[in-house]
Amino acid sequence: MKIQKRGLLLEWIVSKYNYWIYIFLMMIGFYAMIGKKNLVKKVIGMNIFQTSIILYFISIGSKKGATIPVMEHGHGGTIQAIQYINPIPHVLMLTAIVVMVSTFGVAMALIIMIYRKYRTIEEDEILKLRK
């Protein structure tokens, strides 16, 4: 019974360890977003969170023994779908990268506006000044 359980755990670890690494990175970013008080550190945490999601999606579309989704020259015969990795997560993640840059730019502009008004960018001092 114990040997069966250890075999199952090892099988989980070997086949899904990439998802677990990206979840660990996601949790680092999530902790930075809710645990830190400086506004710039929160925005950096948001950046780490979004990056880990992008890597997670790219790892879903990989196939064992396949090459990048650019057709090689001199490929005379038929193209088989099993030789190339899935291009659709790459396409969706290009959009996600662009959205990441846009939200980062607008967040930094909002932080500059908050600094102009309150002269500080620590969250607890801003909340005290608003009361």
């Binding site: 990048i68 650019v70 662009v98 930094m108 502009a109 500059i112 600094y115 002269r119 620590e122």
Partner: protein, 167 residues
């Protein structure tokens, strides 16, 4: 925690370095050439509009890191930058509207073979290249614009002078 006033910092220690200036002056044309290469070869190798646009924008950001930000901001005028922003998106929608005017769906590039002397399959490749150029121009202009907004000196609101588009 009080932040240091950035105007005081740039008066005490203005950033000038001969090595960085010379190295950037030598490197920036090659970076821009590489950015154009990545846009143009989006069909053959990994690359495309977004990637090449970011490389082109990064070359301007490197220029403004080596020299003074406000000096570069005067040379790369902001009105022209905004025009570039809109021209890229206009190229993209314009190609779609041309395909609509020639009788197909919106963004159906194979209808472009009525306009250009190519067959319908190659017309799709030309349509893809055209929209990649438009996307590259827009992404480059927006990268430069966001960097200049975030990194330039902001005048104090109590002083009264403003740093706007009145030049």
């Amino acid at each position: 925690m009080h932040l240091i006033n950035p105007e005081v910092l740039s008066v005490i220690a203005p950033f000038e370095d001969v090595i960085i200036r010379t190295a950037c002056r030598l490197l920036i044309p090659f970076i821009q050439l590489y950015g154009l290469y990545v846009i143009a070869h989006g069909a053959e190798s990994p690359g495309g509009g977004f990637q090449g646009g970011v490389i082109l924008g990064a070359s301007f950001i490197l220029l403004s890191l080596a020299y003074d930000v406000d000096e570069v901001r005067k040379r790369v005028s902001e009105k022209r930058n905004l025009i570039f922003c809109s021209v890229g998106l206009f190229i993209y929608s314009g190609i779609g509207a041309v395909c609509l005017a020639l009788g197909g769906n919106y963004l159906n590039y194979s209808r472009l073979h009525h306009l250009l002397p190519v067959d319908p399959v190659y017309a799709r490749a030309l349509g893809i290249f055209g929209i990649e150029v438009g996307v590259g121009i827009t992404v480059m202009a927006v990268m430069i614009s966001i960097f200049f907004d975030l990194a330039s000196k902001h005048e104090d609101p109590e002083e009264g002078t403003s740093l706007g588009m009145d030049r």
